[in-house]
């Protein structure tokens, strides 16, 4: 077992373990593209990848991807189509797991990728939803990946681009008509946060090797609940690292 890996490589390995064999995964961009590649080439050989650009795949692209729309992602695709067809599958509940990038997440798993501060006069204008809100609302479960910093893990986001469990009250998603199940994990550079089975507030489930619970609490913008038996995140295995470095040979995503 090597201890020589980057925080991004660990996040990719952890994210890949969220993918179950047979899942249809709404992949998104950046690290999740690698997570799908690692999962499909190891424990989830029959996981399918769905891309909002309008692609379905049964195996990762054989060459490096800077975006989901790069030509290697089309070679060997199961389906090249229009975006609304990919969204149709998700609206029917056929997407088991989605990945969403976020700039800010709060204690109830709501993501903000739109505005920091007043939308009329924002302190920071972020790029927006992309497909994030659609995934958050329609996929059966979803995972977000984020650098673990106090300014990113905030008590309540000021703008909910992609809803998690709303105000955290029981049944919030059902009451508001959201079809999908909501966030199942927040994978950060320091640990993994999970949610109770019926949703609500995030708790610390595992801490990455080399970090402590105290490190995590210090970098979290609310008094984070900690699981009774918080454990250490399993480090990336040699085969996970081999796969990550195969699909990101220059370290564009994982060694920047």
């Amino acid at each position: 077992m090597t201890t020589d890996y980057t925080p991004q490589e660990l996040m990719v390995a952890v994210a890949s373990r969220e993918i179950r064999d047979g899942d249809t995964v709404f992949v998104g961009m950046r690290l999740p593209v690698l997570a799908y590649a690692v999962a499909q080439s190891s424990h989830a050989p029959s996981a399918r990848g769905l891309f909002e650009v309008g692609l379905m795949r049964s195996r990762p692209a054989e060459k490096f991807l800077g975006t989901m729309g790069d030509p290697p992602n089309v070679v060997g695709a199961l389906w090249a189509t229009r975006m609304s067809n990919a969204m149709a599958l998700m609206a029917q509940g056929h997407v088991d797991l989605g990945f969403i990038g976020g700039a800010e997440v709060d204690r109830f798993g709501n993501l903000n990728t739109s505005y920091v501060g007043d939308p009329q006069k924002p302190k920071v204008k972020l790029p927006g939803s992309g497909g994030g809100a659609d995934i958050a609302i329609l996929s059966r479960r979803w995972v977000t990946l984020m650098s673990h910093e106090r300014r990113r893990l905030v008590d309540r986001v000021s703008f909910v681009t992609s809803p998690g469990y709303g105000d955290g009250s029981p049944g919030w998603r059902r009451r508001n008509g959201l079809l999908g199940g909501g966030p199942s994990a927040i994978v950060t550079t320091l640990g993994v946060l999970r949610f109770p089975d019926d949703g609500g507030e995030a708790f610390l489930a595992t801490v990455h090797p080399g970090h402590t619970v105290e490190d995590v609490l210090a970098e979290t913008g609310w008094p984070l609940q900690v699981a009774d038996h918080v454990s250490e995140t399993s480090a990336p295995t040699d085969s996970e690292l081999t796969a990550i470095r195969h699909f990101d040979p220059q370290g564009f995503w994982t060694r920047a």
Partner: protein
């Protein structure tokens, strides 16, 4: 290209671009709008991989109706930030969408209905900031968005406007059907016998298309299946230089304002290194009828 933009994209127009998401982005058309000093445009699209950011930074844009504006491999759109946060070079109105809802807004216009219902966006604050979205019962009504013009880049087209595109299409079909008119730029200008040999692959009815521009490399730095790879380094350079308004101005002078046309733009690049060399033609479809 100059003539097509001059005739069909007036100041104040609503323009759909980047409709295939990351591939096939009509950068050449956008750069021509900047050179001609277009003003008060409304840009419509799903994600925009840097092109909207450039038009915003050049002061061409009054309103953005889109799901995402930034740089897909690098992150934030710095000109978009400056416009929204500081009104530089001018203030910007934003109608936020998700990818799904902007597609539905265009389908609504394509089908000539005021709105379409969906289950997405429930629980999202996008409903608070975009007046074109409203909750009705347990559905969201997405109001139609009708572009004056949609601009697409495709692999090949004929002179009468039959455009063939392949690979993922994003929201290109609904954008073309919704728009009053369509401008096509293409890698290859082909004979009608080529396009009509495979009518399933034609993106829009020819009645929508008002101009076809043979613009080799017109999508650079975005990828074109079968022709060019994505120029990741170019996007990275743009992200770094556009961090400051001065840096963006100098980028804009170098790559747009002081460039006469697309051919001189391409002359500054090593397009050979981006050219796709391993070809994978599909099996022909037999359209025999007798």
């Amino acid at each position: 290209m100059g003539e097509a933009i001059e005739r069909y994209v007036p100041d104040g127009a609503t323009v759909a671009m980047g409709t295939a998401l990351e591939p096939l982005i009509p950068f050449a058309a956008g750069h021509e709008m900047i050179r001609q000093g277009r003003r008060d445009l409304e840009l419509v699209g799903p994600i925009s991989d840097s092109l909207f950011d450039q038009l915003i930074g050049a002061g061409c844009v009054r309103r953005v109706t889109a799901a995402w504006v930034g740089n897909v491999s690098e992150g934030l759109g710095h000109c978009y930030r400056r416009a929204c946060e500081h009104g530089v070079p001018r203030s910007l109105e934003v109608n936020d969408h998700s990818n799904f809802s902007i597609s539905l807004a265009l389908w609504a216009a394509a089908w000539n209905v005021p709105s379409l219902p969906t289950r997405t966006l429930l629980g999202s604050d996008i409903l608070r900031t975009n007046p074109g979205l409203a909750v009705a019962g347990d559905l969201v009504q997405v109001n139609a968005v009708q572009p004056d013009v949609a601009i697409v880049h495709v692999q090949r087209a004929d002179q009468l406007g039959r455009a063939h595109a392949w690979g993922p299409l994003g929201i290109s079909e609904e954008a073309g059907l919704a728009a009053e008119r369509v401008i096509v730029s293409c890698e290859e200008l082909v004979d009608a016998s080529v396009t009509l040999s495979d009518p399933n692959r034609i993106l829009f009815p020819e009645t929508k298309v008002v101009a076809v521009v043979h613009e080799l490399g017109g999508a650079h730095p975005s990828p074109v299946q079968g022709f060019f790879s994505r120029d990741h380094a170019f996007y990275r350079d743009y992200a770094e230089r556009s961090r400051t308004a001065e840096g963006f101005e100098s980028w804009l002078r170098e790559w747009v304002l002081e460039v006469k046309d697309r051919a001189s733009y391409l002359g500054r690049l090593d397009m050979e290194s981006l050219r796709i060399k391993s070809h994978r033609p599909s099996a022909p479809a037999d359209f025999g009828d007798d």
